[in-house]
Symmetry: C2
Subunit: 332 residues, 2 copies
Amino acid sequence: MNTLIIQSPLDMHLHLREAEMLKLVAPLSAAQFAGAVIMPNLIDPIDSLDKLLTYRDQIIHAIGSETFTPYMTLFFREYSKNELETAKEHIIGIKLYPAGITTNSESGVSSLDQARTTFEFMQELQIPLLVHGETNGFVLDRESEFLGTYAWLAENFPDLKIIMEHITTRDAVELLDQYENIFATVTLQHLLITLDDIAGGLLSPHLFCKPIAKFPHDREALLQAALIAHPKLMFGSDSAPHPVHKKECAGCAAGVFTAPVALAVLAELFDKHNALDKLQAFVSDNAQKIYNISPIPKNIEIEKSDFIIPDNYGNVVPFMAGKTISWSVKEF
Amino acid sequence: MNTLIIQSPLDMHLHLREAEMLKLVAPLSAAQFAGAVIMPNLIDPIDSLDKLLTYRDQIIHAIGSETFTPYMTLFFREYSKNELETAKEHIIGIKLYPAGITTNSESGVSSLDQARTTFEFMQELQIPLLVHGETNGFVLDRESEFLGTYAWLAENFPDLKIIMEHITTRDAVELLDQYENIFATVTLQHLLITLDDIAGGLLSPHLFCKPIAKFPHDREALLQAALIAHPKLMFGSDSAPHPVHKKECAGCAAGVFTAPVALAVLAELFDKHNALDKLQAFVSDNAQKIYNISPIPKNIEIEKSDFIIPDNYGNVVPFMAGKTISWSVKEF
């Protein structure tokens, strides 16, 4: 197969940031995806409908076209039922950050028990719960340590749709088959790299993200689940741009910028494993079924021809900068 | 205890580099140590007596005083018995790098079997073997995977003194008690940090070294062995300066620059654990016994008073830059 049409590809976990960065990166996602789930962890988190609608307008303005749907999320806090009823039509879900785990999550939740009422409202109103599932433990153990919390959520709120965001471990993949109401996103980089790529040779800040890439057996489990387009797994890039001076410095921020290269690199990866026929489900159909959404029709043509990944997009260095891959997205 | 005299402290694993870097860092070590074991992995490795004597002269010239002994090492290759007999009086040991594992070790040894004759000569001539013990495996497994090679060396060359350099794992600590002819050095950073400090928050290039810092149980085992001044364990800083532009960049070189802060930070650490009485053995006496050396008399006075670690020494950022510690080396 030398060309491939992906119908309405979706990025189910995306950071678009604000201001100049938003203007830089939003059009890059809009050029290749029909829509994306937009993360709410801005410096001032999106934790009210007002903020959300303002941010949504900024995104649409930055894109400058109507062929891309920003599926908005609220930052988790205790919400009243009334707030959720009003917000429901504007959001795809609510994103929960355990306090202090990742970029701008200082105001996240530190005790899940106090959030119980909000979970009940969400369950009743059928609003999905998106979770950054890490504890405050040792960096390699954080996700595995959090899996018990996912189980607690799944058991206590059996009608709540729970999405484990950016899973990185074999244990998390296995959890997908244990609870009917648990789903997951996985990033591009976690299908490709392990801790070895970050720290095995020279240290690579541009491959550093949270959760950090883990062991070879973890990557293998994630990759196998993606290649069969496991029906409970969706592509979510977690593309997280930082200006280069925040990456190449004494304290490098977490985040890998993959949005503009994701589809081409995924095509190369799925082709290598003779799984191109599963790419449509992995980057769109699974998400449509899980979230019950119908994205705008948008055909993206991918072809087997060399793509030299740029060294930078503005002041941001992308994943695999400067490398040549064998598939490219056809530009219109 | 508020002051402490360390008699002839020794750094049993030190990178002094060349040219301008040598001039910058050599005096810093000489100000606080009576001697150090000098690593031979220059860009052109020190693999002949001629190169070694030239490098030794450069070091002595850079120090500009006679109160510091550079204990020289040759870079391991197959040496003739005659070469080793001639070199013996000028060296403290020979450093073996498995090929391609660390900075400038591309010319290291890839098969130990072909080195057997050289090991036999070294054993006969009582020249210690210093080893960078890592395989080419997954970054967290490299040292553990190499331990079988240490065992093979210890069993096949029972009269060869084998030093496991910069050990980072509990498994390596345990090996010390299993073979009479196996010894080890441990760095400052591996007594203090784990992978969490490098990658658990922001990514910290200035804490990145090879072997990489590992799990909490590993650090704990190393620390406990140091605090009792385990007689087969020596302090070896592995202080490895890189200019800041090689650390804060897209591909950060491995190495932590600890030499000028090591004694003060060790004093603080041993004080915190009520083990100051073991510091003399850990930073000097153990090494004297293991290597059968008598360093020049040199008393270094350490006192309990604040020391603000500089942000930089020239173009090199030290370990714990900008932090205040509670012990300092008294300047003369």
